[in-house]
């Protein structure tokens, strides 16, 4: 077991940030904490990286207790905080050299580990970190967190504020790192990234709502979701919400995700209802269930 969290609670002065959270991350696993802003993800990261002390509960990383053995943890994990936290006035290469030095290693020693990522930013190695684009900054931060070959990697919202292509590349990199026997705990507010994790914990308001693999979470979802679209989306949402047996109505890209309460729900009846409401170009079909749908229903 690489990371073990048992009944962790943490309050700040005014609010309770994390409430009785427990989960375990296996060795070599890519584990995602999925939840909106303010769900308590960063607080959990800080507790696990020994930066904060929980009010209740216990946690350990690689068998080291986060309070008692904080020094051992600090020596061996890689941490990438949510905010871009490298030295903006140092160049790409200087940043990397600095972090290698303070961990008592060199770039050459662990070059293998960061090679795939580093070659992408190498053309800019003499540029100051502050002048890099968002995606480049994240890659540099990842290199810096990896340079000492950590066994466990903590990535707090690494893709927030990064363009979709860089996000995709970033996740591919994480997959490759996982192959090198690195346990990765990653958090993200983007639901589409959840399916790229081995297992995820859905977290909201400081509480874990569900822990499972993305496939299982979708498979175990017992409701049928329909994609509904008509010409007038605005009116459609309004009318669907007034449909007697509606369970939930959520905008989802070009479609409205509609769930009905009744087990004998018939799309024809809904079609008729919408026609009566003077909708045109009506389209109703069964939808692919996503993590977001599950999350919305929790």
């Amino acid at each position: 077991m690489s990371i073990k969290v048992q009944n962790i609670s943490k309050s700040y002065k005014t609010a309770k940030a994390v409430k009785n959270v427990s989960f375990e991350v296996n060795r070599g696993e890519l584990f995602g904490l999925i939840g909106p802003d303010g769900a308590g993800k960063t607080t959990l990261f800080r507790i696990l990286t020994t930066l904060l002390i929980a009010n209740e509960g216990r946690a350990s990383v690689m068998g080291f207790d986060v309070v008692k053995d904080y020094k051992a943890i600090r020596n061996s994990v890689g941490y990438m905080p949510g905010k871009f936290s490298l030295y903006q006035d140092l160049t790409v290469e200087e940043n990397l050299t600095f972090f290698a030095t303070i961990f008592g290693t060199t770039i050459q020693e662990n070059y293998d580990l960061i090679k795939d990522i580093y070659i992408q930013i190498a053309p800019f190695k003499n540029r100051r970190a502050g002048a890099l684009s968002g995606g480049m900054k994240q890659k540099l931060a990842l290199c810096c967190a990896l340079i000492h070959a950590p066994k466990v990697l903590f990535l707090d919202e690494p893709t927030t504020g990064v363009d979709p292509i860089s996000r995709k590349e970033f996740w591919e990199m994480l997959k490759r790192l996982q192959q090198k026997d690195i346990t990765i705990l990653v958090s993200t507010p983007y639901m589409d990234e959840a399916s790229l994790c081995d297992r995820i914990a859905l977290i909201q308001d400081g509480q874990v709502l569900k822990i499972d693999s993305p496939e299982n979470i979708i498979k175990n979802y017992n409701k049928i979701i329909y994609d509904v679209a008509t010409k007038d989306t605005h009116a459609l949402i309004h009318d669907l919400k007034n449909y007697p047996s509606q369970y939930s109505v959520n905008a989802f890209g070009e479609y409205i995700h509609y769930i009905d309460k009744e087990s004998d729900f018939n799309t024809k009846e809904l079609q008729k209802y919408l026609q009566n409401k003077k909708h045109i170009n009506i389209e109703i079909k069964q939808a692919q269930i996503t993590i977001e749908d599950v999350f919305m229903d929790l």
């Binding site: 800080r46 990286t49 020994t50 930066l51 904060l52 002390i53 904080y70 943890i73 600090r74 020596n75 994990v77 941490y79 905080p81 905010k83 871009f84 936290s85 490298l86 030295y87 903006q88 006035d89 140092l90 200087e94 050299t97 600095f98 972090f99 030095t101 303070i102 961990f103 008592g104 810096c144």
Partner: protein
């Protein structure tokens, strides 16, 4: 050790790439010392005065010539009556009027006493005072010459002599003072800002989650500033020595030792400030209000401690700068050795140890 060197290297990058900190580090000391040395001074030179000579005889002419030839005064014009005095002052150019009574020479011979009145424009009290003293000095000097010529009677005359600073040059006071202010500013403010900057930018989070010990982070942050502050101290001493002819009568080695001690005490204050402030702005305000003002006001740099009210005098004892100024003046002007200033040195060492211990205790190994 390699980690430590890597850390210090990074600090130097920060300093040399930030134009603002470079300016504070090197521009300000030079600007301040030149400003204090040249512009802010208690000495007077070429003050415009007017003469109202009611007797216009040989003696008054001699005295007027004497005054004209001194570098302190510039006789702007001769006025004819008392009524003109005020209008002269109102014009603003003339700062003092010397009035010779009627029958000056005659009185000097018959009554043995003749009166010269010095009327000064006291809108600037210090200048007025100084002018009055200078006038008295010039006339005394004239009397002395006259007496030597005609040894007539015995008269007790008080002659003062200013030790260590015979010409009462204000720069002798300003060089140690400015040095103290600059070292305090550079050491305390710059370190507290550079440590809080890491907090503000979030890099402190990464440094904490690294094998670096708190001690290494602090010393690594502080070390470049020790180095730069020493350079600053040397620059100020060189400027004082070569530009303002400030003597260094005591041991240079002792002076440097005391300076380094003071620098370290200021740095530990800077660390202390950084442990209680979360943003660079707070750190800067705390350094300026909490350190600079007491250093300028209560250290004896500008206002003499002896003439302060008792509570202020007591408070001044906890200002490290007060002790440092005493030490620097003693070494530079009196040329004394450690045997005369060991008490002050000990106070400074005690304060430094206290501040370092307090800041280590206050340093957070976690985020809250």
């Amino acid at each position: 050790m390699k980690r430590f060197i890597g850390f210090i290297k990074k600090e130097f990058y920060h300093i040399f790439r930030d134009k603002r900190s470079l300016f504070i580090l090197f521009g300000m000391p030079i600007a301040q010392i030149l400003l204090f040395g040249f512009a802010i001074t208690n000495e007077i030179n070429n003050v415009d005065i007017a003469i109202l000579d009611h007797s216009n005889d040989v003696e008054t002419q001699k005295i007027i010539n004497k005054i004209k030839s001194s570098p302190y005064f510039n006789v702007e014009n001769q006025i004819q009556s008392e009524r003109e005095i005020e209008s002269e002052f109102k014009k603003g150019k003339v700062k003092a009027v010397l009035i010779f009574e009627p029958d000056f020479s005659k009185n000097l011979v018959t009554k043995k006493v003749a009166v010269i009145q010095a009327v000064t424009d006291a809108t600037e009290p210090n200048v007025a005072n100084t002018i009055a003293n200078y006038t008295a000095a010039v006339i005394q000097n004239y009397q002395l010459q006259k007496k030597q010529a005609t040894i007539s009677q015995v008269k007790v005359d008080v002659q003062s002599r200013m030790f260590y600073n015979p010409e009462l040059k204000s720069v002798f006071n300003f060089v140690p003072g400015v040095m103290t202010v600059i070292l305090m500013l550079v050491s305390a403010m710059m370190t507290s800002i550079s440590i809080t900057r890491e907090k503000e930018l979030g890099t402190m989070e990464i440094l904490l989650v690294s094998p670096l010990k708190p001690f290494q982070v602090i010393v690594g942050k502080v070390f470049p500033y020790i180095f730069l502050s020493i350079i600053n101290a040397i620059v100020i001493l060189l400027l004082g020595y070569f530009v303002f002819k400030m003597p260094i009568n005591g041991s240079l080695f002792l002076l440097m030792f005391e300076s380094i001690l003071f620098i370290i005490s200021a740095l530990s204050l800077g660390i202390l400030i950084s442990t209680i402030s979360d943003s660079q702005q707070t750190a800067m305000m705390l350094s300026l209000m909490g350190l600079m003002l007491p250093v300028i006001i209560l250290s004896g740099f500008i206002f003499p401690i002896n003439s302060m009210p008792m509570p202020m005098q007591i408070i001044s004892n906890i200002i490290p700068a007060k002790w440092f100024i005493i030490i620097v003046k003693a070494i530079m002007l009196k040329g004394v050795g450690i045997q005369y200033i060991w008490k002050e040195t000990l106070v400074l060492i005690g304060m430094t140890v206290f501040f370092i211990a307090l800041s280590i205790k206050k340093y957070k190994i976690r985020l809250e």
